[in-house]
C-alpha cells in the first residue's frame, strides 16, 4: 500500500532541522520501509495487545527515600552553556 507522509511535519515534531532536499531524500526511504512495515496489517485475527513485561512483572516501586544528588559542577561541566549554577539556552519562549 502506498503511504502518504507529511515529512516536514514529522521532522518538526522530531526537532530535526533538515533541508528540503534532505527531507525529500528521507521521505523516499521512509515510503519504502513503511510499505514493508505495513505488512503488520496482514496479521490474522486481532489478539489483545499485551504491553506487560515478558516475565509478568508488576508494581516495581521504590521507597520514598532521598538519595544523594550529583555534584553540580561535575554536571554543569558537561553543559554547552552554563552560568551561576543554571543551564543556559537561547530564549525558550512559546511566544
Amino acid at each position: 500500500m502506498p503511504v502518504e507522509i507529511d515529512i516536514a511535519h514529522v521532522a518538526r515534531l522530531a526537532r530535526l532541522g533538515l533541508s528540503d532536499s534532505e527531507l525529500e531524500h528521507y521521505r523516499g526511504q521512509l515510503a519504502v520501509i513503511l510499505e514493508h512495515a505495513a505488512r503488520v496489517q496482514e496479521l490474522e485475527g486481532d489478539p489483545e495487545v499485551d504491553v506487560t513485561h515478558p516475565l509478568g512483572i508488576v508494581n516495581a516501586f521504590r521507597p520514598d527515600e532521598v538519595r544523594p544528588s550529583l555534584d553540580r559542577d561535575e554536571v554543569l561541566d558537561q553543559a554547552p552553556d552554563a552560568k551561576d549554577g543554571y543551564f543556559v539556552v537561547p530564549p525558550a519562549m512559546e511566544l
Binding site: N59, P63, R72, G85, P91, A92
Partner: protein, 482 residues
C-alpha cells in the same frame, strides 16, 4: 439571548513527598539551582525511572477523597513534546488508564451546594523551571533562558473536572474546596503562591437550552483563587461579546495577564502539539489490589464534605457548617471541644464564627489559641441559657475571658455583669421609670402594648442592661393593670 457558561478545570497538585516521583532526589522548594538533580531527573543518557510508592499512595488517597474509583490496573505513558525545561523531551504521564476515575466534589457558593463531577486524577512528573532573562523586561525580547532542574520530576497529580461548572464564582469555589481536600489529606503543601497547586480552566459558552458545547478556550497562568475567578469571568464575557458581535470563538490557549486583567492568545504554532502517547516501556503496570486500596482508605482523615454532613446532622445550617468545615478554619478544635463540654452546637458555632472571630479580627490574631478553651465557651453559653448574664452582657464577658481575666463566671462577677433576677429590685427600677413616664403608663393602661418595648428599654437602660428582660416585661405588664 441568555448565555450559559460551561467550565472545566484542570488542577495540578505537587505532592509533598520526601523524594521525587522517579528518582531519589530531594523535593525542596527554593533550594540553590540544580542541587537536587541526578541522572534520572536530568535526563542523562542511560538513566531510568523507578516510581515512588508514597506518591502513588498519595494519589490513591486524593482519588478516594474525591469519591473516585481507584483503577485495579494502571500504566504510565510517555507524552512527547520538546521543551527546554523538560529534560527527556517527554513527560512520564498517564493516558487512557489513569489511576483514579469518575469521582465528584461538592461545591458551595453562598448557601447553595452543587456536585461537580471529576473525570480523572492521574500521576505525572513536573518539569524544571525556566527563567527568561529579558532585555527591557519584554518577554518576547528574552535574550536567553536559565534552566533549574530541581523541580524536574517532582510528583504531580493532575485532577480533571467534568465541564459541569457554570460560573466564575463556582470555578473559584471548586478550586477552593479541592485545595482544602488536598490540604486536609496532608499530601501537598497546597501553596498557590509557591505553585504547588496550579489551575487551568477550559471555558466555553452556549445559548441556554442549547445541547452542543461551544468552542472551548483553555486559560492558563492563574496564581490565586481570585485571579482564577477573574480570568474565568473575563473569558466568559469576552466570548459572549465576541459571539454577540457576530464573531466566532477560536479553540486556543490563552494566557491570563493579572495586571492587565485580560486573557491573551498564546499563539502556539498550530499542528505543533501531537503528543504521540505510548506506554512507557521503562515501567511495568501497576496493580492496585483491594487490600492495598483498603489499607490507604483506612488512613484517610475526616474530609470537609463528611464534616459538613456531621455538623448539619448536629443541627447546624449548611452555611455555618460549611464555614466551620473549611480545612483552613482555625477554630474548629475550639468548637468541637465546646460541644464536647456540653455546649449546644448551634450556639457554639454562632459564637465561634461570630463574636470570637470578630474579637480576634479586632486584635488581629489568627486564632484563639489558649486564650479561650472549649470548657470556657461552654460555660459562657450556659450562663446565658441560665439567664445569669444577658446575651448582650455575654459579649463583655467573652472580652474579659479572651483578655485573660479568668473564667466566664468570674469575669461576669468581677465586671459586674450578672443579670438582676431579684423581683424587688426590678419592681423598684420599673416604678421609677413609670413615674418618670406617666403618659406611657396611661397608654399602656388603655391597652396600647406598643409602648411596652419603650418602657422595657428604659428599665434595661436604668439597670445598665443587667436586668432580666423577661422579668422586666412581666412587672411592667402587671403595672399595666391586668
Amino acid at each position: 439571548m441568555i448565555w450559559e457558561s460551561v467550565i472545566g478545570i484542570e488542577v495540578h497538585v505537587e505532592l509533598a513527598t520526601r523524594s521525587k516521583m522517579f528518582c531519589g532526589c530531594a523535593v525542596g522548594f527554593g533550594d540553590e539551582p540544580n542541587t537536587n538533580i541526578c541522572p534520572t531527573c536530568l535526563g542523562l543518557p542511560g538513566a531510568l525511572p523507578v516510581p515512588n510508592e508514597a506518591a502513588l499512595e498519595s494519589i490513591m488517597a486524593i482519588g478516594m477523597a474525591l469519591n473516585c474509583t481507584v483503577a485495579p490496573t494502571s500504566v504510565f505513558h510517555r507524552k512527547n513534546y520538546f521543551y527546554a525545561d523538560l529534560p527527556k523531551n517527554y513527560q512520564i504521564s498517564q493516558f487512557d488508564v489513569p489511576i483514579c476515575i469518575e469521582g465528584h466534589l461538592d461545591v458551595t457558593v453562598g448557601d447553595a451546594t452543587r456536585t461537580v463531577g471529576i473525570e480523572r486524577a492521574h500521576m505525572e512528573e513536573d518539569t524544571g523551571k525556566s527563567t527568561h532573562v529579558s532585555v527591557g523586561g519584554r518577554i518576547h525580547a528574552a535574550s536567553s533562558t536559565l534552566l533549574d532542574f530541581n523541580r524536574s520530576g517532582v510528583p504531580l497529580v493532575e485532577i480533571v473536572s467534568k465541564p459541569e461548572i457554570h460560573s466564575a464564582a463556582e470555578a473559584r469555589a471548586y478550586a477552593q474546596s479541592l485545595r482544602s481536600v488536598v490540604a486536609e489529606l496532608g499530601v501537598s503543601d497546597a501553596r498557590l503562591e509557591e505553585g504547588s497547586i496550579r489551575f487551568d480552566a477550559n471555558v466555553s459558552v452556549r445559548s441556554e437550552g442549547q445541547e452542543a458545547l461551544g468552542t472551548k478556550v483553555e486559560v492558563k497562568n492563574m496564581n490565586s483563587f481570585r485571579s482564577l475567578e477573574r480570568a474565568v469571568q473575563y473569558e466568559i464575557d469576552r466570548q459572549i461579546e465576541l459571539i454577540e458581535s457576530s464573531g466566532t470563538v477560536v479553540q486556543e490557549t490563552r494566557h491570563w495577564d493579572e495586571d492587565a486583567g485580560v486573557t491573551r492568545s498564546m499563539r502556539t504554532k498550530e499542528g505543533s502539539s501531537d503528543y504521540r502517547y505510548f506506554a512507557e516501556p521503562d515501567l511495568v503496570p501497576m496493580r492496585m489490589d483491594e487490600e492495598w486500596v483498603e489499607r490507604i482508605r483506612a488512613t484517610l482523615p475526616e474530609l470537609p464534605a463528611d464534616r459538613i454532613e456531621r455538623y448539619v446532622a448536629s443541627g447546624l445550617d449548611a452555611g455555618l457548617a460549611a464555614v466551620l468545615s473549611r480545612s483552613d478554619f482555625p477554630m474548629r478544635a475550639l468548637y468541637e471541644s465546646a460541644v464536647s463540654e456540653g455546649a449546644d452546637a448551634r450556639s457554639a458555632a454562632n459564637w465561634v464564627t461570630g463574636e470570637v472571630t470578630a474579637w480576634l479580627r479586632r486584635e488581629d490574631r489568627a486564632d484563639a489559641g489558649d486564650l479561650l478553651t472549649g470548657r470556657q465557651l461552654a460555660e459562657l453559653i450556659d450562663l446565658i441559657d441560665q439567664g445569669t448574664v444577658s446575651s448582650s452582657a455575654a459579649k463583655d464577658v467573652l472580652d474579659g475571658v479572651l483578655s485573660g481575666e479568668g473564667d466566664p463566671g468570674a469575669v461576669a462577677r468581677s465586671r459586674d455583669l450578672l443579670q438582676i433576677s431579684d423581683t424587688a429590685a426590678i419592681e423598684e427600677a420599673v416604678d421609677t421609670v413609670l413615674a418618670d413616664n406617666p403618659d406611657a403608663l396611661e397608654s399602656l393602661r388603655s391597652g396600647e402594648t406598643k409602648v411596652l418595648g419603650f418602657l422595657v428599654g428604659q428599665v434595661m437602660k436604668a439597670t445598665q442592661g443587667k436586668a432580666d428582660p423577661r422579668l422586666v416585661n412581666e412587672v411592667i405588664r402587671a403595672r399595666g393593670g391586668d
